[in-house]
């Protein structure tokens, strides 16, 4: 009985910690939709490409 409780608590902890780990890992990824500097660099690059095509 005690063993069963331990398994449930351990499994729940692993799932919760795993989900939170994945969440923070995903949230820390920077891309052009959430990072002003990356977005500015990207816009500059697009402008340069457009100008080069003209």
């Amino acid at each position: 009985m005690k063993n069963k409780k331990t398994i449930i608590i351990a499994t729940t902890s692993v799932i919760v910690l795993g989900v939170l780990y994945l969440a923070f890992k995903k949230a820390s990824v920077k891309d052009i939709t959430n990072d002003p500097q990356l977005r500015a660099d990207y816009d500059d690059l697009i402008k340069k490409i457009d100008n080069a095509k003209k």
Partner: protein
């Protein structure tokens, strides 16, 4: 309630809360301002005849596309079918039906956005008028393009999607003011 049932209940609650936390933590913060140093007047937007405010970038349609979309629907369809289209702005919201519905519980999005400008969205399979007869700044009813999506568009939609909402990317609609031809 016996202790086993309590344990299952707390365990389930903890897992459910962690999933909620996942959604909250990974929700993307949109940029408040466009950092590409556009002037205020360039960012102020344009109000259409039906009161919808769109960005200046959306209001400017490239000349070739503008010529096509001002034609009657049947002719526009003939000219657009099979054409490859690209995203003109960031964060396009493709739709399952040809109108905008951003409701909290019921909306017609496909579960994610096409995040990046200049992405190859796909090829046009149909052209239809806006279901709610919404009009563009020129006073014509918006045209929506039904698209067979590209792998890149599908990838961006899936990347932007929430794990709790499945994406629907077999085909979708995009509005005339967020696309361009190349």
């Amino acid at each position: 309630m016996n202790s086993d049932k309590k344990l299952y209940l707390y365990s389930g609650l903890a897992i459910a809360l962690s999933v909620v936390a996942y959604v909250v933590i990974t929700r993307k913060k949109k940029l408040d301002t466009d950092p590409s140093a556009l002037s205020e007047s360039e960012n102020s937007g344009i109000e259409t005849s039906t009161g919808e405010v769109i960005s200046n970038e959306q209001a400017i349609i490239d000349p070739t596309l503008a010529e096509i979309i001002k034609l009657p629907l049947a002719q526009a369809k003939t000219k657009m079918l099979g054409k490859n289209i690209y995203s003109k702005v960031f964060n396009i919201n493709p739709r399952q039906s040809p109108y905008v519905n951003n409701g909290w519980f019921v909306n017609n999005g496909v579960g994610g956005r096409i995040l990046i400008k200049d992405t190859f969205i796909g090829s046009v399979t149909d052209v239809v008028n806006d279901k709610g007869s919404l009009r563009n700044p020129s006073g014509n009813i918006y045209k929506w393009l039904k698209v067979k999506p590209s792998q890149e568009a599908i990838r961006q939609i899936k990347e932007d999607s929430n794990i709790l909402i499945p994406t629907k990317t077999d085909t979708f609609y995009v509005r005339e003011d967020v696309i361009k031809l190349k």
